[in-house]
């Protein structure tokens, strides 16, 4: 149970960062933290106590294996997360070139 609560705490840390930070890069980092808390939950979903890596060996009957599907999901999700982070950082760099700052209080052309 503690692990799940810790994952949730990590999620909240990311959310807190997105809401309160004023630096574009820190917002991007907070978003990544949040992503990784979800990935941890996904890995935990597939975890089986005392389970082996899911390469089934017919000679070892009765052996417990962990669920491979969430692991495959997490790998895919990490790749997607990489794409989002790369995109976010690319935009942050372009924004810095235009405004000469990472501070979101000075980047506010869009209103209303």
């Amino acid at each position: 149970m503690t692990v799940y609560i810790l994952c949730f705490v990590l999620f909240l840390v990311g959310l807190y960062g997105i809401i309160t930070r004023r630096n574009l890069v820190k917002i991007a980092i907070s978003l990544s933290i949040m992503e990784f808390s979800i990935f941890l939950i996904l890995v935990l979903i597939g975890y089986v106590d005392g389970g082996l890596a899911p390469i089934v060996d017919p000679e070892m009957a009765g052996q417990v294996y962990v669920d491979p599907l969430p692991q495959a999901m997490v790998l895919t999700a990490i790749v997607i997360g990489l794409a989002t982070t790369a995109m976010l950082m690319a935009i942050a760099i372009r924004l810095y070139r235009k405004y000469k700052t990472f501070d979101i209080r000075e980047i506010k052309n869009l209103r209303g």
Partner: protein
């Protein structure tokens, strides 16, 4: 028929990468390959629409079909509801891309634009066809990540800021969706939508799934920009290049937002009365507040973006009313009518909102401004833009004989029939407010006195742009034919059947 299904995803993916790779060698390849891809997809979508002779066509990826009743592979499902969305996506996609042939010339890196456009279409086709939750998430990310890039395509100050905002909120939404998918997998041990329904039918713990449903509503609600989650939409949709705004407003928020919500809540969960009430209230709130926010705008594309929120509210409200009536179970004809109105309004909205954004793009192309106060007297110098935008404005504000009138009428009749008198009154009031702000747009852009001499020399936009606008304006009129009951049944009945007999989806897919 089954062999066609994967091509909807494969063709745009392949041509997206071909444009980038071969574009270096063959000059101008993207200008041919891009529209050709979308035209092929449109023809395929229309063909599968006419050829849909059974409840659902299933394609299993890699030939991994079911093993002892448990589906192993990833399913792509083509049924009555998804085929309508496919037609809408590829139709608006083709027209927007044809329009881009002239419009996008002012930007650099044209080839990237066409490649990203193909990717966004591939992602949306995948979302609509997918029968597997995680696969749906992957396609959703493909389409939204390319839309982040396309919103920032102008790389000006506002574009970048809008894209950053869109990405942060979009990323948050994706995380909520991924968490919900993980939680569903945890309890049901399956990701196949039909199989999840099958497992849930055997009984489930209610509080757990209420949490999952709330996560899904907030995640996909963020993607669909229903009102408490709408903050990114006006920025993103007004900053993007106009054909992309037409794609985002016309198709993306429906394909990855509304469509998925409806599909999951009808065909995966058995929705309860509470969820139905949540849908109806969210829809009604977005409808009212969206229109009130729109009337205050002076930036043309921001006005259109807020009006999208309002019109999406109509769609969500219609589906919500249908869900309430289905749960009550005593007035099925009204429920069917409400759902039909929702689907019909969704199709209509993509046509007229696409057209309005293309009009806004045409004005921006010639005037280099989106500010309504700086326009005026353009009806004589830009006759095609003026007349098509007049048709679209009348259509969206619900003036007969255009399509918007009939879909709103069906929603209002369903509301009265289902005894939602307050919602019927709200729908009429919002329709009048919509008329008000579109008359404002017409008056300031086209009929006012011209503010300066400079505007009198404006010429009409090039052929590719005016042609796409005329096609969509024609569709605004043609789609009103769906108001005839016989024609409506022929077109909407397969989709309605998927929603009304929601348990059929899982039984046909699993072959029980």
């Amino acid at each position: 028929m089954e062999a066609l299904i994967p091509l909807f995803v494969a063709i745009p993916l392949i041509s997206a990468f071909l444009i980038i790779i071969l574009g270096k060698l063959v000059k101008g390849l993207h200008r041919i390959l891009g529209p050709a891809t979308l035209l092929a997809l449109l023809i395929m979508a229309l063909f599968s629409f006419t050829g849909l002779n059974q409840a659902a066509h299933i394609y299993t990826m890699g030939g991994w079909s079911s093993e002892g009743g448990f589906p192993i592979g990833i399913y792509l499902v083509l049924d009555g509801f998804s085929v309508i969305m496919l037609c809408v996506i590829n139709l608006i996609g083709f027209i927007a891309l044809f329009y881009s042939l002239s419009y996008i010339r002012k930007y650099t890196a044209e080839a990237n634009y066409y490649a990203l456009f193909c990717l966004i279409v591939a992602g949306m086709n995948g979302v609509v066809l997918s029968g597997d939750l995680f696969n749906l998430f992957v396609f959703l990310e493909v389409s939204v990540i390319s839309s982040y890039a396309l919103v920032a395509f102008g790389v000006g100050k506002t574009e970048l800021e809008a894209s950053f905002k869109y990405q942060v909120l979009g990323g948050l939404a994706s995380m909520l969706i991924l968490l919900a998918i993980g939680l569903i997998y945890w309890k049901t041990k399956t990701l196949n939508i039909a199989d999840v329904r099958n497992v849930l039918d055997a009984g489930y713990s209610k509080p757990y799934y209420i949490f999952v449903q709330v996560l899904l509503i907030s995640g996909f609600g963020l993607k669909a920009a229903i009102i408490p989650f709408h903050a990114w939409l006006p920025d993103a949709h007004s900053s993007a290049p106009s054909p992309i705004s037409a794609m985002l407003s016309g198709v993306l928020i429906k394909a990855v937002g509304i469509y998925v919500l409806i599909r999951l809540f009808f065909n995966m969960f058995v929705f309860t009365h509470e969820i139905a009430v949540v849908f109806t209230t969210l829809g009604a709130i977005s409808m009212v507040i969206g229109s009130l926010l729109a009337i205050m705008q002076w930036d043309l594309k921001r006005l259109l973006a807020y009006s999208s929120i309002s019109q999406i509210g109509y769609v969500v409200m219609a589906f919500g009313m249908g869900m309430i009536l289905i749960v009550k179970g005593d007035n099925y004809p009204a429920a069917t009518l409400a759902l039909a109105g929702g689907i019909y309004h969704m199709i209509n909205h993509s046509v007229f909102k696409g057209l309005l954004f293309l009009n806004a793009g045409a004005l921006e192309h010639r005037l280099d401004t989106r500010d309504l106060k700086k326009m005026g007297g353009l009806s004589s110098s830009m006759p095609i833009t003026s007349s098509t935008s007049f048709i679209a404005s009348m259509s969206i504000s619900g003036i007969p004989p255009f399509n918007g009138f009939f879909s709103k009428l069906i929603i209002i009749i369903a509301a009265i029939d289902g005894k939602f008198y307050l919602l019927a009154v709200l729908a009429i009031v919002v329709s009048i407010i919509t008329l008000a702000y579109f008359l404002k747009f017409q008056r300031y852009a086209f009929f006012n006195k011209s503010p300066g001499k400079a505007l009198e020399k404006i010429r009409e936009v090039p052929f590719a742009m005016s042609f796409s606008m005329v096609v969509l304006a024609f569709l605004c009129l043609a789609l009103s034919l769906l108001a005839f009951p016989s024609l409506r049944e022929a077109v909407l009945q397969p989709a309605l059947q998927v929603l009304m007999q929601s348990e059929l989806y899982s039984t046909t897919l699993l072959g029980i």
